[in-house]
């Protein structure tokens, strides 16, 4: 199987998992990748609507470790660029900090 999706431009440039810095949180929105990979990610807890935190960066900044739904999963930057996220709204951020 040859994928070309990773080299395509992300549907939401600037709003992908890859654009979040370590320690930042976003809300998962959309997967721009073949269904089989998206399903695998969803089985691991990457469900649209959930919060995802960039937990840490591996040696050399790639892959990075994300925390979602109580689990930690490592993804390379090329794949994280295909996962659209939105930033927390002010209300969500406030609810988090409490």
């Amino acid at each position: 199987m040859v994928f070309n999706f990773m080299t395509q431009r992300a549907t939401h440039p600037g709003n992908t998992l890859c654009d979040l810095a370590v320690g930042q949180t976003g809300i998962l929105e959309d997967f721009n990748m073949p269904q089989s990979i998206a399903e695998h990610l969803m089985n691991l807890g990457f469900v649209p609507g959930l919060e995802v935190l960039v937990a840490r960066s591996g040696p050399g900044g790639n892959p990075r470790v994300y925390r979602v739904d109580g689990t930690e999963v490592a993804l390379r930057r090329d794949l994280s660029r295909c996962i659209a996220v939105r930033p927390l709204t002010a209300a969500e951020a406030e609810a988090r900090s409490q």
Binding site: M1, H40, P48, N62, L79
Partner: protein, 631 residues
């Protein structure tokens, strides 16, 4: 700490009459990392065996669980699954077995579903799917000890009511709550009657359902302890992560050599003493020769490597169960990317240092098909434990031990290390060539779940080691024993006047001389040729063969094998032999597993021709170069 068990819900079904089990076959199902195998081991102990379903590559264990009333229930440990999606091979097998559509496997009468109590929001989705199959199901929320330690909680009664199945909070590690399994198995079978099930297909809805069910059961996940996070900030650190990784790899091999070698020496001494004893007890003649030279020297010369092989599997097992291997995959990903692979190939490649067969089966976790084939093709270049005896013997015979770096690291250690490096370098070169040509894949999804760190369970490790030891002894007892006896017979024939021939007139000598022209350019004589021929069954057989060939030869009968070898090989020939073994594909088990995993003869045949071709050319080059410098 007491663990609440929903005795009421388990016991809600009427008690079964003792003596006749409610279920004959029960499937154990669960997601990866939920402690399914630990539970299975706890329930069945040593009463289990490994098997493969026909036509598929998925391995499964079956075992026997004995109830208190003495009746036995057969348990099938199915592969870890996240979901029941027929597109994934492991999940397809699980569905087929549960639906009774797997040839050779009986349809289970009931299911024990093992979930991680700390991950119910994800794992309840799987529960929904499994329960919807309609078989009587027991839901075990495993790792209750962790859940409580981390401040989480769940009420099993409301959960049991909503799922329509008995639910119990258990710990497979401590054994708490496992009485629920007894109670479930003796109860009258009852199909689940859940209050509601999710509409499958939309992950968002499934998850909402799971959260709703969890909320009704007052589910609160525990907080991951800070030490796991702290460990990760060291093990995945920018600089220290890589440094620790290197130390771990060196420590793995150091352990095997520094602890394994003395153990092997002890075993060797014991086997030698036994051989002398046997030889004295048995009457002289053909039986004595067969038992001592054919059987004992043949199979025994291979058995002595058992300690080293078990140590290697033990160390890899500890790394795997503690959770470090998943981190090692993340650390190695960047380097693996350089040869076109990803971190997921690291775990199989590390296991390949033990044995290529489990390594090739471990490639199933690699989602990308081309990456998987590339990993399968390079795995046998890793220095597996079957090469170890050959290397040890040839190095000990030909390379004098002189200190190189202080008193600890000597010439022999350097020689051994270079052979490991040689195999690794060829694997890298081959991967690079494959991934930039026939197996090129543009983008690879690297998705690696990092389980929390845990203490390895000694019982589960011990069971896995037993598996490996059995496989090794079985091979020594069948293939290697068979080849040894055949060789012994060929050295004993043709008989003249009831007397065995001189070794030079024996059938084996004729075979050896027939192939000698092909191997003479590598510096091998006919005896080594016979050894090579036999080693295509399995690498370590060459030692058994050489043992038998010299055992029956009166000139070298009394000599240690290492001494006797010096009459067969020049130093240059010995180097060529080492190089040949570093590269050649000499293992029927590996070829068989590659065929099974790739589902065609194409890849094993290509692999055999490529590896053996490379081995021949490299051995020739090594021979000619060594001749120039060392003769």
């Amino acid at each position: 700490m007491s663990v609440p068990v929903s005795i009421q819900s388990v016991a809600s079904a009427a008690r079964h009459v003792p003596g006749s089990p409610a279920y004959k076959t029960v499937a154990v199902v669960g997601p990866p990392n939920a402690g399914k195998t630990t539970l299975f081991n706890r329930l069945t102990g040593l009463r289990q065996k490994v098997g493969n379903f026909p036509g598929v590559t998925v391995e499964h264990h079956t075992g026997t669980y004995r109830l208190e009333n003495g009746t036995e229930v057969s348990l099938i440990d199915l592969p870890g699954v996240y979901s029941l999606n027929p597109k994934s091979e492991d999940e397809k097998v699980t569905i087929d077995v549960l639906n009774g559509e797997m040839p050779g496997a009986e349809r289970p009468d009931a299911i024990i579903l093992v979930l991680d109590a700390n991950n119910l929001n994800r794992h309840l989705i799987l529960a929904g799917r499994v329960i919807s199959l309609g078989l009587p199901t027991l839901v075990l929320l495993n790792m209750a000890d962790e859940l409580h330690k981390q401040g989480g909680q769940v009420d099993v009664l409301p959960l049991a009511r909503q799922l329509g199945t008995p639910v119990a909070l258990v710990s497979a590690v401590t054994g708490e709550g496992l009485i629920a399994v007894q109670n479930f198995l003796v109860a009258t079978p009852q199909a689940p009657e859940p209050l509601e099930l999710p509409i499958f297909g939309d992950p968002r809805h499934c998850r909402e359902w799971a959260v709703r069910v969890g909320t009704h059961a007052a589910y609160r996940r525990g907080v991951t302890p800070e030490w796991t996070r702290r460990l990760d900030s060291i093990f995945l650190h920018k600089f220290w992560g890589g440094a620790i990784f290197a130390v771990v790899i060196v420590a793995v091999f150091q352990t095997i050599f520094s602890l394994g070698q003395p153990a092997s020496d002890l075993l060797q001494k014991f086997l030698d003493d036994m051989a002398v004893h046997l030889s004295n007890v048995l009457p002289a003649g053909i039986i004595n020769s067969l038992v001592v030279n054919g059987v004992w020297k043949g199979a025994g010369s291979v058995l002595v490597f058992l300690p080293q092989i078990l140590l290697l599997f033990l160390v890899i097992g500890i790394l795997e169960d503690s959770g470090y291997l998943a981190r090692a995959a993340v650390i190695s990903d960047k380097v693996m990317a350089k040869v076109g692979l990803n971190g997921k190939s690291f775990i199989p490649l590390l296991s390949a240092y033990g044995c290529a067969v489990p390594a090739i089966m471990a490639t199933r976790t690699i989602e990308n098909k081309r990456d998987r084939i590339a990993t399968i093709l390079i795995a046998p270049f890793m220095t597996c434990s079957a090469r170890l005896p050959v290397y040890t013997m040839v190095i000990a015979a030909f390379i004098p031990n002189r200190p190189v770096l202080g008193p600890v690291v000597g010439t022999r250690a350097v020689a051994m290390l270079s052979l490991y490096v040689l195999g690794f370098a060829m694997a890298v070169a081959t991967a690079k060539a494959l991934k930039s040509s026939v197996l090129r894949s543009k983008d690879v999804a690297f998705i690696m779940e990092l389980p929390p760190y845990r203490w390895p369970m000694w019982k589960s490790l011990a069971l896995r080691l037993m598996d490996r030891a059995n496989a090794f002894i079985f091979r020594a007892g069948t293939v290697i024993l068979g080849v040894s006896i055949l060789l012994w017979a060929l050295t004993y024939l043709p008989m003249h006047n009831g007397q065995p021939p001189a070794i030079a007139d024996s059938a084996i000598s004729h075979i050896g001389h027939f192939i000698e022209p092909a191997i003479r350019p590598l510096g091998f004589n006919w005896k080594i040729g016979v050894g090579l021929l036999s080693s295509f069954a399995a690498r370590e057989v060459i030692i058994a063969t050489m043992g038998t060939l010299h055992g029956v030869d009166p000139q070298s009968h009394a000599m240690a094998l290492q001494q006797a070898l010096k009459s067969d090989l020049t130093p240059a020939g010995a180097i060529a032999l080492l190089v040949f073994f570093a590269f050649a594909m000499q293992c029927m088990s590996t070829m068989a597993v590659v065929r099974r995993e790739t589902n065609s003869w194409k890849w094993p045949v290509i692999q055999f021709l490529y590896m053996t071709g490379v081995a021949y050319v490299a051995a020739f080059v090594a021979y000619r170069i060594t001749l120039l410098y060392w003769n």
